[in-house]
Symmetry: C2
Subunit: 417 residues, 2 copies
């Protein structure tokens, strides 16, 4: 089955927003094993939307439209879809009630008249409740066997709706069961991972292995097509085991939803460890990532952003001799920063980053991209030297991922002894 995405909204064509919905839905369609060949963005314009939708209906089995379901006169995705399919709009009393309830919860004054427009649905459509807004999702199954799915544009409405209702709906349509697992790798490069799975990718038709490169990480999705879920699991399992054998502790999780920072917070909790951070060139990015994990406060008490030598001395107790002899960007300073952060806050673990993110400040001895990451744990200091490529932002992002990875490995090694 082929699927096609249409993003509706003049704000996309004006460059006002980045179309993250398309990236999200693309990945989900890949996960579902659906073939996606075209993605189009079009403005809130009846003629052009109709022409795009007509083309899509002629070449794809499932068309997912996002956006243009709002209450204003500009929003016309529902109206144009109905017209293109030769269907009418009808009032849905269930949706009308939900809209009333929604507004009563969040506003004390009345409901804008225009919002009642959102209670109108395409006749015969399957109505998907919107738990985070007022525009319901709609699934229209046409008499020609095509399916048109209308979803709201705001990601915080669209994504929960997709996860809860649309994904299972699409999953049921498929002739086979698809079962997939995720293997998340960090600490080794993309090309090395691809080299390590080349034979598997060449050999295997079912299950397939697809690599997704993220900054500093590689995610491998293993997907099997089968007649039953159990058969799918049985096909996927040995491949995941093989990957575990090959990549060992470079794999930080096989949990689809777990991020690297969540993994680190979990490991800290499991081992009853508390953490302090000390950042120089990353200036708070690492701590910001950790704090973004709900519940991080139970393991992270404090962090230091020590840009100047003075602050490295004052708050982290880095010795004057170290800074003079080795400089702020050095193995020795990174180690002392990590230890100093842990000791100043009475934490078990300290993690420190010092490096040159550029664009200025590089020398032949210490070029831009040189970063030292230190980890202090159980009175043991580990420091690693990195040479990252890219602009200031990229170097800082790589530093953060690798600091999380060093934390992870240090905690695992420590708990093994």
């Amino acid at each position: 089955m082929t699927v096609e995405l249409i993003s509706v909204g003049t704000e996309i064509l004006l460059g006002n927003i980045v179309n993250t919905n398309a990236a999200y839905l693309s990945e989900k369609c890949a996960e579902l094993g659906l073939s996606l060949y075209y993605e189009t963005s079009v403005g809130d314009n009846e003629g052009r939307l109709k022409s795009i939708l007509t083309t899509a209906l002629s070449r794809s089995d499932i068309i997912i439209l996002t956006g243009g379901l709002g209450p204003t006169a500009d929003d016309l995705t529902k109206e144009v879809t109905a017209k293109t399919l030769g269907l009418e709009l009808v009032l849905d009393t269930h949706t009308k009630e939900r809209i009333g309830e929604y507004f009563n919860k969040i506003v004390s004054h009345g409901i804008p008249d225009s919002n009642w427009k959102q209670a109108e649905v395409i006749e015969g459509a399957i109505i998907i409740d919107n738990t985070n807004g007022t525009a319901p999702g709609l699934i229209v199954e046409t008499q020609y066997g095509k399916r048109v799915i209308l979803l709201p544009g705001p990601p915080n409405e669209m994504i929960p709706m997709f996860e809860q209702d649309i994904f299972p709906y699409l999953n049921r349509l498929r002739p086979h069961v698809f079962y997939s697992a995720m293997v998340k790798i960090c600490g080794i490069g993309e090309s090395k991972v691809e080299e390590g799975i080349k034979d598997l990718m060449d050999r295997q038709e079912n299950p397939t292995i697809a690599p997704y490169a993220k900054t500093g990480e590689v995610h491998l999705r293993v997907t099997a097509s089968a007649d039953t879920l159990e058969e799918g699991m049985n096909l996927v399992k040995p491949v995941v085991e093989e990957l575990k054998e090959r990549f060992k502790d470079n794999i930080y999780t096989t949990d689809e939803k777990e991020t690297l920072e969540e993994n680190v917070v979990k490991l800290l909790k499991q081992n009853n460890l508390t953490l302090a951070t000390a950042e120089s060139c990353t200036g708070g990015l690492l701590t910001g990532k950790i704090v973004n994990v709900a519940g991080a406060s139970s393991v992270l008490n404090s962090g230091f952003i020590t840009y100047s030598n003075e602050s490295k001395r004052q708050f982290l107790d880095v010795s004057e001799g170290t800074l003079k002899e080795y400089g702020a960007v050095s193995e020795k300073t990174a180690g002392e920063m990590a230890m100093g952060a842990a000791r100043a806050t009475n934490s078990n673990v300290g993690i420190a980053i010092t490096g040159l993110a550029g664009p200025d400040g590089g020398t032949i001895d210490k070029p831009v991209g040189l970063v030292y990451i230190g980890c202090f744990l159980n009175d043991k200091i580990t420091v690693k030297e990195y040479h990252f490529r890219g602009n200031r932002q990229k170097i800082r992002e790589y530093s953060v991922v690798n600091a999380l990875d060093l934390l992870r490995r240090s905690i695992i090694n420590n708990s093994n002894f």
Copy 2:
């Protein structure tokens, strides 16, 4: 003139990357006054790319393709474009030399054979040198008056090429001169800004005013179409003056390229002020933004991420009484944090954020989204209370923008006395 974007790459359709190129090019086209009606993403597939390009040629004057100019066999944007237009590929010796030079600079071992493919160009095309990679850009002016522009996919190659060569090229094509100015506003909501310019937007045909909402900011682009640049400037100037009159110090810059954090760093430098930060719920995000400004180290010595009450006491000298009586999320704590950060680091200015980013921890008195931001400057403490909506990430982003805005206003007010 109408323009259309085609993003080529299977990685987009698999959801492997977010298509930020499309957002960037859309905004630039709006700036150029070009009408953009369609954006399409298509995989590295000859048949489908050809069909999309043919459709685009039938309905738009200028077609910009990004991606698929790489050295591998998968990359076929150039080949398919040539074929669709009935043109040949020819070797360009200038590009061949540049590729040789590029590789000699970054690798000591030989040049992969496949890279020489990138020295082939469409016959008759204008060749745009790539200063950050090996694939040149190409502009093909067809005999039917259409223009097809091929650009490399990686943003760090595409954006400099667009800014330096493609933007001026497109600008010259237009029958009129377009002159535009940017007015960047923060500290007041999007709806309030739109209300404040409604009459101007309704009244004015030339120049036009287009609002762009960013998190916590609104950017207004004023664009005039004219016969000469001078005439354009004369049309834009009074509108910008009118906007300055209306929004006063809510405008932080009229410099197209200046970000809010750059503006704050500039203000600090101009006033010979040094800054210390203290973050609770934002956990380093604010400092990370400031540190991302090149040269920030001259104004920022240190930052504190004080999650626990203990660390607020220990490093920022927040009094036990304050924490007990008012709690960590309070006006009083925010003020003491800001002062404590400044004093501990001997800085002139302290900025502090404490709040509830959720999802848990909210109460009726102190709901999720409640954030206090404190600024200490010249022995004066200013604290503001905010109620932000959205998820954890959004609340933290709003907090950061508003902290930067409070810093900005405090410095300006201080220097006025």
